[in-house]
Symmetry: C2
Subunit: 228 residues, 2 copies
DNA sequence: ATCAGTTTATGATATATATCAACTTGCAAA
DNA sequence: TTTGCAAGTTGATATATATCATAAACTGAT
């Protein structure tokens, strides 16, 4: 009965499930489901019941809320190794935020009950989850403060650098979102986001080919991000 | 050897330490320290090492960051039963945020090592901490989104209602912070916060006696908070 | 290839907010 | 009491951002 769990080779295993026994691993493995999503698909939807503990294996997603005026506010972009359905999972029975793919993505889903059971039984596992959750929420909060203290130009610069440095690790990249979504993320209007981008382009700081952005003068953009 | 732990009668015990044995309780009790703070005292300081797990027994505190331009941004007001040194405790070795008393306060401090040890040993305890942490970070994030989508008047109205409804549970209350701090919380200038308050006063929506605020037309203020 | 709808872009103008300056009030220390 | 400093207030003005209108560019479906 020396069964192999397909999770054994999962690169995320180390990250999430260190400190669990092979029995526990087996149990999780049996109840997990992998799901594929296209750009634009909802992974989680605000106010819907939380059923799974979801993590991102590949792709890119946005977390956002739809407020009662119908407008969307983006609070975070998550890439693999970030938790996805982590915020509010342990305090609410429904999702506080929607999660939508902005690139083709794959998730691994485990019934939240299973995860909770394991936490209750295994403190070391719980500690790993605590650390991850602390990291994610800290990042979300810190990012919102960083954005809040900047003006339009600084915010747009910040977003571009965020994608270049943290998401794609490359000064040129294809934006996975449109101008409106940038606006929803930084709390400005679409028109003004476009104007800032155009300004940067005219100043030779960036090049724009539709959704493809190339950061030409990295240091100048950094400067703008830091000091407006 | 039927020792009594003074924590036995602590009203916070139920909240934080359900599901731990009396032995574990005893151990925590022996390592805990209670501290008193005056208004203006730092409980935790940004970038200083995290040594204790701190919770607020009484009083009121503000969480804030000092950014590299020297300006302060307030991210949350915490009252008893909220965790205080919860954010970033499990992901960083130093505080990401400062915590300062805005009213005379008492904290109970437990060495963070002790808490971590207990989490590792006791999954049920860990689950309680996870739930609390999820609640707090969810609140911080949700609040920042709520503030972000409002204009000046809406933000000021929101803050007043926040103190009346959530903190003091009374339509008239003494503001524990000055106008500048309101501004740091809602991301506007002090002058404009004052102007909004004056406007509300002139419209008969609130009364102002220095730091004492009395909400006269609650529904109107609510309206302003919702729709600018 | 054409059409319709969305996204991107630009300009003119209105509105909201910040900045600067001056002044008042409150408060605590000498 | 006086003094000095921080907090609160108000007005004038500058600046930043939103709104509205229009149009070009792009995209997907027929």
């Amino acid at each position: 009965m020396n069964q192999e769990c397909s999770c054994e080779n999962c690169e995320l295993k180390e990250l999430f499930f260190h400190n669990i026994s092979s029995n526990e691993m087996m149990s999780l493995c049996n109840s997990r489901i992998e799901r594929n999503y296209e750009k634009g698909d909802y992974i989680n939807e605000q106010n819907k019941p939380i059923e799974d503990f979801t993590y991102l294996k590949s792709g890119l997603v946005k977390l956002f809320v739809t407020n009662n005026t119908g407008k969307e506010q983006i609070l975070y972009f998550a890439k693999p190794f970030d938790f996805v359905s982590l915020l509010s999972v342990f305090s609410h029975s429904t999702y506080s935020y929607s999660v939508m793919c902005i690139e083709e993505s794959t998730t691994c889903n485990i019934p939240i009950k299973e995860v909770k059971r394991l936490i209750n039984e295994n403190g070391k596992f719980a500690m790993g989850i605590l650390e991850k959750m602390s990291t994610v929420s800290d990042n979300v909060i810190k990012e919102s403060l960083e954005i809040r203290r900047r003006n339009l130009r600084g915010r747009v610069a910040y977003v571009l650098l965020h994608f270049a440095d943290n998401i794609y690790k490359n000064p040129s990249f294809e934006l996975p979102i449109n101008r409106k979504e940038i606006a929803e993320y930084i709390g400005m209007t679409t028109e003004n986001v476009i104007r800032a981008l155009t300004e940067f382009r005219k100043d030779g700081i960036i090049k724009i080919f539709g959704k493809v952005i190339e950061i030409v003068q990295y240091d100048t953009l950094k400067q703008i991000s830091e000091h407006g």
